[in-house]
Structure formats: C-alpha cells, structure tokens
C-alpha cells in the first residue's frame, strides 16, 4: 500500500513538474514579448544588407523612417539612397501599396508570402520576422535549457500558417530581452539566426538597437540599426490609409 502511494505520488510529481516547465516557457515568452509589444511606433532605422555574410566590405545601406500600428500595419519611407528617396511602402495585412516618388504613382502589389523577404527590401527578414505578431500565437514553447543567466526555449508550430518548423529562442534572465532566435524549416533545416544586441534606451524602453539576421542557406546577412524610436505615440491615420499614405 505504502509502495503504491509512493508510486502515485511520484507520478503526480512528474506530471506537475512537466506542467510547471510548460507554464514557465509560456510565461518567459510572454514577458519577453511584452518587452517588444506596442500599439504604435515611429523609428528611424538603417538597414545594411550584406550579400555575403563574411564580406564586410560589400554591403548596401538604406535609411528608413517607419511607422507601425498593431500587428499588421507598417509604413516604410526610404530616406536614402538618394536614387529612391521618398519611395514609400504601406503594408496592411496581406496587401501592399508602393508609392514611387519618381513618377508620383501608387501601385498595389499582389499578396505576400509570410516567409518571403519584404518585397525585396527586407534583406534576410521575412514578413513574419518583422511583423509584430507574438510568436506564442503560432508556436508552443518549452524550456530547452535553464542556464544561470539565460533560458533557451524551443518553439514548435501549433498553427498551420507558422512559417518555421522550429524556433530556438535565447532569453536573458535579468532583462527578459531576446538575445537570439534560431529559425528552422522543414526544407532548409537550420535556416536563419537572428541576434539582437547593443541594448539602449529607445523611446523610454530598454531595447536592442541592433538586430542581425544571418541567412545560413544563402550565406547573406542583414543588419538593422535603430537610431531613434518612439512607442505608443499618436500617429497620423494617413500613414496607414492606402489613399493618403503618400500625401
């Protein structure tokens, strides 16, 4: 009888411990994602695209002013290079509009694939990588490693529209900031690595000012540097209106 009770207690403990770990991972991700959560944003960024990750000399640089609202609305305006200064891209859900300052025309571009680079201008960042949508909505997380200063979490898709087959997310224990995300796909295996560093106070928040995405399949690299950012500010409605975003 005593043995049976011990066995049942042990099983209950194992079950409870498993639940505790699962809850921990979700809680860690929730806290980490809360760090990057905002309703609206305005940022001035530089994007450096390196066609070969190991060749630091060969790169192209873009300066971009961006506005964001919610998870699906983004406005990008190119400040440089000079040849496309004023080019504006509005993304709303699955649709995109491009305003060409050179011709003064607006063109609607066909729907996007979440895994695709942002109409060629996102370098190695896809729509899903840049989108504000919480990873927890599409992936189930569990603690892979519990180190002294970091958690390593593993995310597996729970919805069919998840782009990646596996995510490995490294979160700093003291700040709850995400330090690295490894992206895996069924076809390419270990596909991309994103590093977030150079933590600064941006818009009153402690945020990584430099995000590096390394595409392991193409051996390319894209760096996004945030120079200034404001969060949860009042943003003119026109930036997200397809009929007015270019005015």
């Amino acid at each position: 009888m005593k043995n049976r009770l011990q066995f049942i207690s042990l099983m209950l403990f194992i079950f409870a411990a498993a639940q505790l770990f699962a809850q921990d991972a979700e809680a860690i991700m929730r806290k980490a994602e809360e760090k990057y959560a905002f309703n609206t944003s305005k940022a001035e960024i530089s994007m450096l695209v390196y066609p070969q990750a190991d060749n630091e000399r060969n790169f192209r640089e873009y300066s971009i002013l961006s506005y964001g609202r919610g998870e699906e609305e983004t406005y990008l305006e190119f400040l440089s290079p000079r040849s496309i200064k004023g080019l504006r891209i509005l993304s709303k859900g699955g649709d995109q509009w491009v305003y060409f300052s050179s011709t003064g025309r607006v063109r609607k571009i066909a729907g996007k694939a979440k895994k695709e680079s942002v109409r060629g201008v996102g370098g190695d960042f896809s729509y899903e990588d840049l989108g504000g949508e919480d990873m927890r909505k599409k992936y189930d997380f569990r603690v892979l490693q519990d180190r002294s200063d970091k958690w390593v979490l593993e995310g597996n898709p729970k919805t069919e529209d998840a782009t990646y087959s596996r995510l490995v997310v490294t979160v700093d224990k003291s700040s709850y900031l995400i330090e690295k995300i490894e992206y895996y796909t069924e076809e390419e295996g270990h596909y991309k690595d994103m590093y977030m560093g150079e933590v600064k106070i941006l818009g009153g928040r402690e945020m990584p000012s430099q995000v590096v995405m390394i595409n392991r399949e193409k051996n390319s690299k894209t760096v996004i540097i945030t120079h200034s950012a404001l969060y949860d500010i009042s943003v003119d409605e026109k930036y997200f209106n397809p009929n007015r975003f270019y005015k």
Binding site: S83, I84, G104
Partner: protein
C-alpha cells in the same frame, strides 16, 4: 495504455526520409518537390496505340493525385481535333485579305504618346524597385538609367538620353506627319506579319509520329511506331502516408490495370514485408515456445519465460509512435531479431527461479547478469541509433534499443510479480515448482 498506443504506429513510405537529409541529392529532390509540386517517382503504362494513350491520358488527367503526365497524345492531337484545326488553317490560308491598312489619326498619335509615357514610368518604377531590392548599381537600374535622365526620387538630376521623352516630343511636334509615318510603319509591319502567317498556314495534312523530333519519340515510342509509354508523375504528398500511396495505386490500377512504377513496387514490397514479417515472427515465436515447453516441461514456466517478451513487445510498439518514431522497411525487419534476443531474459530468470525458488536470490545473481547484458546490448544498439547518419540504419538501432529496453523492464517489473503469485500467504520463500 501501450496496447492502445500500438495502433498509432505509422509506416514511413517515403524512401527519401530514410536517407541522410543533408545529402545534396536529397536537398535537390526536396527543392524539386517543393517548387514543382511533383514527385519524381513516376509510374508508367504501355498503350498499344496513340488512341489508347489518349484515352488513358484523358482519364489520368481527371485524377487529382496525378501531378503531370508525359504522353505522346499531347503531341498528336485527336483525329477530329486535327480535322477541325486543318479546316481553320485552310480558312485563314484562303482569306483574300487578312489585314487591312490602318490610317492613324491625330488622336491615335496622342494615345500613342500617352502609352510611351506609361512605358517610361513603368521602367522608372522597375528601376526603383530594383534599387530597393538589389542596391544602387544593379543591372536593371543601369540599363534604365541609360534610357532616361537622372532621377533621385522626386528630384531630377542631369539630362540623359531620354529616349522616351524624345520620342514623345517628336510625335507631338507634328502629329499629322507622325500619324502618316505610323500608318506607313503599320503597313510594313502588316506585310511582314502576313508573310509569317502565310508560311504557317501552308500545313495541309495531319501531324503524325514521323513529324515529331527524335527527342520526343525516343523516350515514348516503341520501334514499331504504335506501342507507346505513358509516364505518370504523382503529386508531392503521395508518399506522406501509406494510405495516400495505396489510394494513388488503386486509382491508377482502376484506370490502367497493367500500370507499374515506383509506387506500385513500393506497395508490393510493403505487402511482401508485412506477410513475411508476421509469418517469420509467428514461426520464431512458435519455435521458441516449443523449445521452452520441451525444456521446462511446464506450461507455467513457459508462460513465465515468455511473458516479459510478449509484454515488452507491446510496450515497445506502444512507446515507439508516442516518442515520434515511424516504422519503415528496415526497422520492421528487426522485430524477429528482438523476439530472438528478448526471450533470453525471461528464460534465464525463469530457470534460476525454478532452481532457487526465491525471487530475491534470483534477481540478485541472474537478474544482475541479465541487467548488465541487456545494458551493454542497449548501449551498442543505442549508439547505432545516435551516430548513424543514415536515418534508415539509425532507426534499426533505435527499435532494437527500445525492444531490448522494454523487454528488460518487463523482466524486472512484471516477472517478479508473476513469481509472487506462486507465493502463499505467510511463505517467506516460495519454493515454486522446485523439486
């Protein structure tokens, strides 16, 4: 619990999943499947003549699991279709006047200038997008810049060749003159076009196999010129599960009973393995039981010796799908091997218990030996499962590891409980059947 999990087992029908996934050939195979939505493993059927090929092709086209068909019927249209086309060609050939000259008006010249302007804008925008995606010195923008003046977003720079603007200015400078010139250009164009159409409409007989290039006929036609091959490529998901593969085969078999190819061979193999495996497993198990009966001369001890294996096999088959593994052509062949190896533990323990009549002593000595020998076997097979780069070979190691581990566990957990049944209340040491 494990017994109910046994039915969760799935069979890996995609051979490519059993190959090392980093191999360039496998990476390319996956890319082809992904890009073209097609599996390169085709089926084929022989048609006695082109008409039969056409009927088969038409039926196969209606089958949703078929991605692509390569058939001679695509190159030789049906008799009726050829007749109708020849009639149409003849009609075009015999037209007294296929085209009439068009006289451009001043309004047409304005519309023409508007279209040239649109073309210039499109080319400018293509250049802008290419800069956003490929950087400033890409070939598209270089080519664009050779045709237009310098453009920096909304600002303009140095004038360039400006081919579009020059053309617009030119036609707008004297619309009447350029209306006449456009009419003349059109007349030349019409004549050249008419010559081409005339050459194309000289066909006045049906197409036969003899008209086709060798590159097409070589792979599809037999030497007698009648029998031909129809190749069928399935959709990419056909090997995802056994049900899809079987369903694909049944559908094709219904259309063409003589069909053969990769999926048909795969299913035949599976059926053969399925039958042989269970026959072999039953034969081995039956022989082992017979030997045990002869050796123990006791039904009870035969049951004792064989229960760990039976329950262990159920555990193994139950755990296997729960941890995400699939059965395949290679690892199922290990099941008879597990029967042969796993029965040893029960035999050793049952023998010792029969001699000792004491569970504790039995497990202290023989139990320890069984445990250690199982452990070393598990390490061996487990290493194979861990380090083998071929998933097929690794899966053999994994199933052997699970088989030995579950048989060992049942020997250590279930068997003492069974021995305990022989104990009478108040007995310190059961003598069992000790004589």
């Amino acid at each position: 619990m494990f017994l109910s999990a046994v039915k969760l087992n799935r069979f890996e029908t995609d051979f490519m999943q059993l190959e090392p996934q980093h191999m360039p050939s496998i990476v390319n195979y996956k890319k082809i499947m992904e890009k073209y939505d097609i599996s390169p493993f085709h089926s084929m059927v022989i048609a006695e003549n082109i008409e039969e090929a056409r009927k088969l092709t038409n039926k196969l086209e209606e089958e949703p699991m078929v991605a692509e068909i390569n058939s001679i019927a695509y190159f030789i249209p049906a008799e009726e279709e050829q007749k109708a086309r020849l009639a149409l060609i003849e009609e075009i050939r015999n037209m007294p006047e296929r085209y009439t000259n068009y006289d451009y008006s001043v309004e047409d010249v304005e519309a023409f200038a508007g279209e040239v302007q649109r073309l210039e804008w499109n080319i400018i925008e293509m250049g802008d997008l290419s800069v956003a995606g490929l950087g400033e010195n890409n070939k598209i923008v270089k080519k664009r810049n050779r045709m237009i003046r310098e453009i920096f977003g909304a600002e303009t720079g140095k004038p360039g060749k400006e081919v579009f603007q020059k053309l617009i200015s030119l036609v707008e400078s004297d619309p009447q003159l350029y209306a006449k010139r456009l009419s003349r250009l059109d007349a030349y164009f019409v004549q050249a076009m008419d010559r081409n159409v005339n050459a194309m409409t000289q066909v006045n007989r049906k197409i036969t196999v003899a008209d086709l290039p060798e590159s097409i006929t070589k792979g599809l036609m037999a030497e007698n010129g009648e029998r031909n091959l129809v190749l069928i490529y399935p959709q990419k998901g056909i090997f995802d599960d056994l049900q899809s593969t079987m369903h694909f085969n049944e559908a094709l078999e219904e259309i063409a009973p003589g069909i053969t190819g990769s999926t048909q061979i795969l299913v035949t193999w599976l059926e053969e393995i399925n039958q042989t495996l269970w026959k072999a497993a039953l034969f081995i198990f039956g022989t082992v039981i017979l030997f045990l009966l002869l050796n123990f001369r006791s039904i009870l001890y035969t049951i004792f010796a064989s229960v760990p294996l039976l329950v262990g096999l159920i555990w193994m088959m139950g755990v296997y799908p729960l941890v995400g593994f699939k059965l395949n052509f290679f690892n199922v062949l290990m099941i008879p091997l597990i029967i042969g190896m796993g029965i040893d533990f029960g035999i050793h323990i049952a023998h010792r218990f029969r001699t000792e009549g004491n569970i504790e002593t039995t497990y202290r000595y023989t139990g320890k030996a069984v445990f250690l020998s199982a452990l070393t076997t598990m390490i061996g097979f487990g290493s194979l499962g861990l380090i083998a780069s071929f998933p097929s070979i690794a899966s053999m190691g994994v199933i052997l590891f699970f088989g030995i581990a579950s048989t060992l566990l049942t020997t250590l957990i279930i068997l003492p409980a069974l021995f305990g049944l022989l104990k009478k209340p108040g007995d310190k040491d059961s003598q069992g059947e000790k004589k």
